[in-house]
Symmetry: C2
Subunit: 139 residues, 2 copies
């Protein structure tokens, strides 16, 4: 698989995710995907590790139930063979409060057979928790 | 600048940083570097944005005063032109308590004229705060 293929598939993955086309997203996820969002599950129950496509789609559905995606803008995309890394500017509206959370997401992806086989997501999770709770944390 | 150059310079940057050779690190940082560590400054005063080499070296010195680097292992390195992204497994010993903090660091770098001109660092900052305080945060 060429870097051009990697770039095209990942661009399609983010585009379809942004358009909430989860059927097409599902087709771009490998059966054996290894997935982690690094954030506290006490506040974001869809965070943490997931193994396999069904578990990842369930996590995406959980995210969508709690948050409406306002915008997902990849700002930097780095591609190297079958791997890519992105920095994105993302806005989610919390459905329970209508508050908009703005987070910068760093993601690392690896493709295999043209599908996402590995995903790692980083955010400033302390800041994201404060935004989700609508108040500063007591230290 | 070729991707091979980017790879070599970034490998040297991490190697010299790991060996605490800050003189050589300084030589690899651009005068006009634009730098952000995404984490709460209330707990990690060296976090947040920094502009210019002197400010970045001061932040590195602040990190070193608070934390002794135990190990810094880049596990994934993605290079694309003058940009790179790394995921690293990092252990720091907090000098005031001797506690070891283990963090996964995601970093995005861009070089210009063979030096670091842009740096963005992400960690699971909620987890890092709990490790630094040695207790769970009350939500």
């Amino acid at each position: 698989m060429s870097e051009g293929d990697t770039r095209a598939i990942i661009a399609e993955l983010y585009d379809t995710y942004g358009r909430r086309d989860f059927e097409r997203v599902a087709a771009l996820i490998h059966d054996d995907v290894d997935w982690v969002i690094y954030a506290p599950v006490s506040v974001f129950p869809f965070a943490g590790p997931r193994k396999g496509r069904a578990a990842v789609l369930a996590a995406m559905a959980d995210i969508a139930r709690a948050f409406a995606l306002e915008s997902y803008k990849p700002e930097v995309m780095i591609v190297d063979g079958a791997r890519a890394a992105l920095m994105s500017d993302v806005s989610y509206r919390q459905r329970s409060t209508a508050r908009v959370l703005r987070v910068r997401i760093a993601s690392f992806l690896r493709l295999q057979d043209g599908r996402l086989i590995e995903y790692r997501e980083f955010i400033d999770s302390f800041d994201a928790v404060e935004q989700a709770l609508g108040r500063e944390l007591r230290l």
